[in-house]
Amino acid sequence: MTRYLLRRFASTVVLLLVMVAFVYVIFYALPANPAVLVCGKGCGGGQLAAIDHKLGLDQPEYVQFWHFLEGIFVGRDYSSGPDVSHCAAPCLGFSFQNDQPVLSLIGQRLPVSLSLTTGAMVLWLVIGVSAGVLSALRVGRFTDRAVTAVSVLAFGAPIFVSGMLLLMLFCGYLHWLDFPVYVPLTDDPAAWAKNLLLPWFTLAIAQAAVYARLTRTGMLETLSEDHILTFRAYGLRERRIVGRHAMRGTLTPIITLSAYDFGYILVGAMLTETLFGLPGLGQLIVQSSNNVDLPVVAGLTLVAGAAIVVANTAADLLYAVVDRRVVLT
C-alpha cells in the first residue's frame, strides 16, 4: 500500500511537470503578447519592455519555466525597480492582470467549485443510481423503457441547452427562483443552497443519465451471477438480495467512477459556471485563457491535473477497500 502510494506520487510529479511544460510551449507559440494585454493599447515600447522585465518575459523560455518551478518549492519575487511583490512557496505564479498571486485566485474560487460539485454529485448519485436500480428490476417493462428514454435525452442535451431551459423556466417564466448569485455557505447556508439549486440540477441531469445506464447494466450483471442464485436457493428475501448483495457488486464501479468524476468536474465545470455566473475554477480557466494570463493558466493546469490524479488515486484506494480481492501494488 505504501509502495503503491509512493509510486503513484512519483508518477504524478512527472506527469504534472510534463503537463505544465506543455502549457508553456502552447503559450509561447501563440501570437499574443501578454505585456500588451496587461498594459493596454496605449502603451509605448519603453513601458512594454518594463512590463516584460517585471513578468520575466525578457528571459529565455527555459529560464522562465525554471523560475516557475522554483516558485512552487521556494517561492519567488517579482520585481521591477522599487516595486517588489513577494510570492511565498508554494507559488504558482503571479497574475498581473488580476494583481494577485495565482494561488490566492484559485483559493478564492475553490469553495465555489467544491460547493457546485459536491451538491451536484449527491444529486446525480441519488437520481442516477435509483433510476438505474428501478430500471434493472423492471427490465423490459415500461419503467425500464421510460428510464432509458429519459436518460438518452438527458445525456444528449448539452449543458448550455438544459441549463438555459431550467433558467428560463424557473427564473424567467415561473419566477420560483431568482437568477442565481453565489452566496458562500458560511454566510447563509439557505441562500447558498437556493442559489445553487439550478446549477446543481443542470450538472446532475447529464451525469445522472450516465450513472443510471451504468447502474442498470451493473445490476443486471450482478443479478445474473451465481451467488445471487445461491441466496435465492437459501430463501433470502428478494429485497435483501437486491439491497445487500446485488447492490454491493453494482456500486463498486460506481464509487470508482464518482471519485474520478468529482475530480474532473471540480476543475472542469466551465459551461455550468459560465452560464450561471459562478466564480469557480472552470470560469477562471475560461477567463484566463481568453486573456492569455499565462501564470493563471499554468497554475490551473497544475491544480486541475493534481485534482484529477488525486481523485483517481482515491478511486483506486476506495476500490481496494470496497473489494478486498483487490490488492494495490
Binding site: 451465481d226 436457493a233 437459501y234 430463501g235 435483501r240 448483495h245 454491493r248 457488486g249 473489494d323 478486498r324
Partner: protein, 534 residues
C-alpha cells in the same frame, strides 16, 4: 406418495418458451421418490435436464419464463402449488442446495461467516450473535480448521475444497431434510473430491438428511448414493438401486453411457509398447513465475521444477496431476509456447530450449497443440475452414490449397466439410474439439500435445474423441503427449504415464505397471481417491 419418502416428484415437466412460439421441453414427465435419509443420484449428460430438475425442486424457475408442471411433494407441501413466500421459507430451511462452482456461489464481498449467519437468521430469527455462533459451529462441523477465525475470511481467501465445505456449512445451518447437490465436486481435484464426498456421507449419517446428487460422473454416483435415476433429453430413462443399474443396466442408453466411461479397473486397453528412440527429451526443465503482488522481493512460484523425461517416437505419454501440479506449464514449454527458466528441450535432435521465435517457426510444423476449451481456443469471428487453414497459410501454403486441405481434414475428423464456412458457435462442444484437432493436424505435426482435450466433454463425446485421436495417431504416425487430470482417461490412451505433483515429476512408468502397482505414495493416494464404478 410412499410412506417413507421425504420428497416425491410426479410428472415433473419444465418447458422454456422459445422466441418463435415453440417451446423446449427440458424436463419431460419425470417422477421419482427420495426416501427419508436416503440418497438418490441423477445422472445424465449435458442437456439431459438434470440440473433443471434440481432447480425445480426448490422452485427456482419461478423468476424465469419456464413453465413448470407436475407435483413436487415435500412432505404435504407441493412446491409447485405454494405461493412464492411459502416457497421462500422452504428454501434453505427444509431443502438446501449446493452448487458446482463454490467460488462464484458465494458473495465475494462478504465474510463467509456473515453469509452463513444471514441465511440462518432469515429462517430462525436468531440474534446476530447467536447466528454468528451457529455459523462458526457449522463451519467447524464441515472441517474448516480454526473455524472461529476463518469465519471472518472472504471466499477468495479459501481454497476450492474449503469453499465447497463453506457452502455445505451454509446448507447445514438450518438442518434441512434434503440436500440437493448439483455437481458438487466437478470443479474439484480428485483428492479433494474424495474428501468432500466423505464429508457428505458423514453428515448424512449424522443428521439423517436425504441427499439428491446431480452429477455427470457415474463413479461419484456409484460411491455416494443408494438409488440412481438416469436422464436423457429430459426424460427419465431408467431408475433403480445403484448397484443394479450400474451392473446390469436395462436400457440401451444406460449401457452405452457405462461403456463410454474410461475405467481404472477391468482389462487394460491393448496398446503396443513402442520402444522407439526418443523424439523429445527434456532435461531438468524448470519454469518460474513471479507471484503477483510480490513486489521487489523475488517471490517466485516454481510451476515446473526440474522435470526430466523423454517422449518416444510413436508413443502416447500421459501426464496426470491435480490443478497446480504444473502439467499445463510443462505442456506449453514442450511446444515452446512458454520459454523455460532453466533446463533443456531437445526435439528430434535439435535443442529448442531458447531458440528465438523466428528460428522456431519452421519447427512449429512439427509441434502442435490441442487445447482444453474448444470454445475459447477457436476465433469466434473466423469461419471453421479459415481457422483450420490458418496454420497452413502461416507456413506459406496458398489460400486455395490451404482451404482444400482444411475441408479434407474436416471430413477426416468426422465433420461435415460443407459446413466449412460456418462459425464455431454453430457447432457442439465435441465438434469444436474435432476442429481443434483438425487445426493441429493441418501441418502434419510429428508431436501433438493435448492439454485436457476431453475434460469439457460428456463421456460419450469424450469416448468418440479419444477413439479419433487413436485412429489419427496411427494414420499420421503421431507422437502424443496427453495431459489430463483424469486418471482413467489417461490409462485408456497412454503407453506410459508421468505423474506430476507440485511442479515435480513424481513417477514415470509404463501405464499398465503404474496403475497395477504404483510405486510412489502420491500416485497411490491419487488412485485411491478416484471413485470406482460399481
Amino acid at each position: 406418495m410412499s410412506d417413507a419418502a421425504v420428497l416425491s416428484v410426479r410428472d415433473l415437466t419444465v418447458e422454456f418458451p422459445g422466441d418463435d412460439g415453440s417451446s423446449l421441453r427440458a424436463v419431460d414427465a419425470v417422477s421419482f421418490d427420495l426416501a427419508a435419509g436416503g440418497a438418490l443420484g441423477i445422472v445424465g449428460e449435458s442437456g439431459s435436464g438434470k440440473s433443471t430438475t434440481a432447480l425445480a425442486l426448490l422452485g427456482l424457475h419461478r423468476r424465469s419464463s419456464a413453465r413448470v408442471s407436475g407435483q413436487i411433494l415435500l412432505g404435504d407441501d407441493d412446491v409447485n402449488a405454494l405461493d412464492d413466500e411459502a416457497v421462500r421459507r422452504l428454501r434453505g430451511h427444509r431443502i438446501a442446495m449446493i452448487f458446482q462452482d463454490p467460488l462464484s456461489a458465494l458473495d465475494p464481498y462478504y465474510r463467509i461467516g456473515d453469509q452463513i449467519s444471514e441465511v440462518y437468521r432469515t429462517h430462525s430469527g436468531a440474534s446476530r450473535r447467536a447466528a454468528w455462533a451457529r455459523a462458526v459451529e457449522v463451519l467447524d462441523r464441515v472441517g474448516i480448521p480454526d473455524a472461529a477465525r476463518r469465519a471472518r475470511a472472504r471466499p477468495h481467501e479459501f481454497s476450492g475444497g474449503m469453499r465447497q465445505r463453506a457452502l455445505i456449512a451454509m446448507a447445514l445451518a438450518c438442518e434441512p431434510e434434503i440436500l440437493v447437490a448439483d455437481e458438487p465436486t466437478s470443479a474439484l481435484d480428485v483428492t479433494v473430491q474424495a474428501q468432500i464426498l466423505d464429508l457428505i456421507d458423514d453428515l448424512r449419517a449424522d443428521t439423517g438428511m436425504a441427499l439428491l446428487l446431480v452429477t455427470h460422473d457415474l463413479g461419484v454416483v456409484s460411491r455416494s448414493v443408494e438409488r440412481v435415476l438416469v436422464m436423457q433429453n429430459g426424460r427419465a430413462v431408467e431408475q433403480g438401486p445403484v448397484g443394479g443399474v450400474l451392473r446390469a443396466p436395462a436400457e440401451p442408453y444406460t449401457r452405452a453411457l457405462l461403456a463410454a466411461v474410461p475405467r481404472l479397473d477391468g482389462p487394460a486397453p491393448s496398446r503396443r509398447t513402442p520402444s522407439g528412440e526418443p523424439l523429445l527429451t527434456v532435461t531438468g526443465l524448470t519454469r518460474e513465475f513471479r507471484r503477483p503482488g510480490g513486489g521487489l522481493r523475488r517471490d517466485v512460484l516454481r510451476a515446473v521444477d526440474d522435470v526430466s523425461l523423454d517422449v518416444r517416437r510413436g508413443e502416447t505419454l500421459g501426464v496426470v496431476g491435480e490443478s497446480g501440479s504444473g502439467k499445463t506449464t510443462l505442456a506449453r514449454m514442450i511446444v515452446r509456447l512458454l520459454t523455460p527458466t532453466s533446463g533443456s528441450i531437445v526435439f528430434a535432435g535439435q535443442d529448442i530450449t531458447d531458440r528465438p521465435e523466428r528460428e522456431l517457426r519452421p519447427l512449429r510444423r512439427d509441434l502442435q497443440m490441442v487445447f482444453q476449451d474448444p470454445v475459447s481456443s477457436l476465433n469466434p469471428r473466423r469461419t471453421v475452414g479459415d481457422s483450420i487453414a490458418d496454420p497452413l497459410r502461416v507456413q506459406g501454403t496458398d489460400d486455395r490449397a490451404a482451404l482444400r486441405t482444411a475441408r479434407e481434414l474436416m471430413e477426416r475428423v468426422g465433420l461435415d466439410a460443407s459446413r466449412h464456412d460456418r462459425y464455431p458457435h454453430e457447432f457442439s462442444g465435441g465438434q469444436r474439439q474435432r476442429m481443434g484437432i483438425a487445426r493441429a493436424l493441418s501441418l502434419r505435426p510429428r508431436l501433438l500435445v493435448c492439454d485436457e482435450p476431453v475434460s469439457a466433454l460428456d463421456v460419450s463425446t469424450q469416448a468418440q474423441i479419444l477413439e479419433l485421436l487413436e485412429d489419427l495417431q496411427e494414420e499420421y504416425e503421431l507422437t502424443i503427449v496427453f495431459v489430463s487430470h483424469d486418471l482413467a482417461v489417461v490409462r485408456q490412451v497412454s503407453d506410459r504415464v508421468a505423474v506430476m505433483h507440485d511442479g515435480g515429476l513424481v513417477e514415470l512408468a509404463d501405464a499398465e505397471e503404474l496403475y497395477a502397482s504404483p510405486r510412489h505414495d502420491y500416485t497411490r493416494t491419487l488412485l485411491a481417491a478416484v471413485p470406482a464404478l460399481a
